[in-house]
Amino acid sequence: MWSLIETIWNVFLHSFHKRVTIQYPEQKPYMAPRSRARIILSRDPDGGERCVACYLCAIACPVDCIALQATEDKDERRYPEFFRINFSRCIFCGYCEEACPTYAIQLTPDFEMAEYNRQNLVYEKEDLLIDGPGKYPGYNYWRVSGARIAGKDKGEAENEAPPVDLRSLMP
């Protein structure tokens, strides 16, 4: 019996507690920097596209919402001819970001992407591509990778040893 009265009193004391509700449209919730929402494609510090159209994100995607087509530009750099994410399918699992070898595809904390028309949720490359490097400033895939492109031969990347001549007997 006493515990019942104590319960009632304790519940009554909640009249003076702070309310936990966030009044959403007026009051924005705190989103952690690494929370997973709208997907973007980033650029390297020189302004070039980071995406090398390796298809790993499309393969990792459990709901098959990423579609792209690889092609090469005049510098022999691979890039996506189109890159399409269907956000009405996307489950924001972040596997694409984990699969990406070049930090190109990234998830951002922006979650306000409701649309009245479902078709508007299909984002094309120009919708996805941002101007900056996103979460990884200073990283340039083409500068550090061993892949050969026009103007940078094998062994000319940062911290890369010159290629080994397999046919030589010298140590």
Binding site: I8, F12, H14, S15, H17, K18, R19, V20, T21, Q23
Partner: protein, 316 residues
């Protein structure tokens, strides 16, 4: 004592009671939210007050569905009974001198009789729905309300002994020196518990127990028929609160403010307490409910009656 304009009193009490009952839906949601550290409805109109209007429009626009397996006549009449009995009980409540429809000399018995008749509504609703959950809810309601009716009336007899009248206005007048909460504290506690059970409010909401019986006796109801059960429940809360005010807290008596304001303040405090009970206490098990009623409350009510009677006799 009775109002000089009975029709005006009837219309006023009807309008005020019904709109208050509708408003209580909003009050309850806001208060529950407050005690659960939330906000509750706060988007429709100022403080979400127009939520009531939105709910009313919604419930009127709902399909008024008659289940093909139901007993049609009884099914339709059941929600009307609860409204009629509760609203009839309001006729004898003295809100303040002059604001009372009829000042019966057996008002208290009339109130008890009407609240007993209200059981029919729930039992018939459960029976006519021809669904097992409804029937179970109806059965529980019948057992619960009959058991709690007994000591509810007995707990009030102490008040009647002290005031020497069944007339509610006379009972209020008798509290000029001392509210009956002091000499009749046990009676007040008993009546409060019985009142909560009578209004089928949590923690005694077994007839509707949404967790186990879907919605109990009104699970087959829709549209405004369901709305009538809902409004009937809130009217019951208002009625029990005003009866507690009249019987134990001196009704309209109080300094400075006009009598009706005092009455409304006291009544609202009890309505809030009812909601606080709902916010804090879990539902009883059915066997606990019955044994609590018969083994604890009934002997206590009898004891209260005997002791009060003895004291009153010794005093005179």
């Amino acid at each position: 004592m009775t109002s000089p304009y009975p029709l005006a009193a009837i219309a006023g009490i009807l309008i005020v009671a019904l709109s208050l009952a509708a408003l209580l839906i909003w009050v309850e949601r806001r208060l529950l939210a407050l005690w659960q550290d939330r906000y509750g409805p706060n988007r429709v109109g100022p403080f979400g007050l127009l939520q009531v209007v939105a709910d009313m429009i919604k419930i009127f626009a709902k399909e008024d569905w008659l289940p093909p397996f139901a007993d049609k006549a009884v099914f339709i009449i059941a929600p009307a009974i609860i409204m009629v009995t509760v609203l009839l009980s309001f006729a004898v409540v003295p809100f303040s001198p002059g604001i009372i429809v009829v000042d019966l000399n057996i008002a208290l018995l009339f109130f008890l009789g009407m609240s007993s008749l209200g059981v029919y509504s729930i039992v018939l609703a459960g029976w006519a729905s021809d669904s097992k959950y409804s029937l179970l809810g109806g059965l529980r309601a019948a057992a619960q309300m009959i058991s709690y009716e007994v000591f509810m009336s007995l707990s009030l007899m102490g008040v009647v002994l002290l005031a020497g009248s069944f007339r509610l206005s006379a009972i209020v007048e008798a509290q000029k020196k001392l509210w009956f909460i002091v000499p009749q504290f046990l009676g007040f506690v008993l009546f409060l518990i019985a009142g909560v059970a009578e209004a089928r409010r949590s923690p005694f909401d077994l007839p509707e127990a949404e967790a186990e019986l879907v919605a109990g006796f009104h699970s087959e109801y829709s549209g405004m028929k369901f709305g009538m059960f809902f409004v009937g429940e809130y009217l019951g809360v208002i009625l029990i609160s005003s009866m507690i005010t009249v019987l134990f807290f001196g009704g309209w008596l109080g300094p400075w403010l006009p009598p009706i304001v005092w009455f409304l303040i006291k009544m609202f405090a009890f309505i809030c307490f009812f909601i606080l009970l709902r916010a804090s206490l879990p539902r009883l098990r059915f066997d606990q409910l019955m044994s609590w009623g018969w083994k604890v409350m009934l002997p206590l009510a009898l004891l209260n009656l005997i002791v009060t009677g003895a004291v009153v006799v010794a005093w005179r």
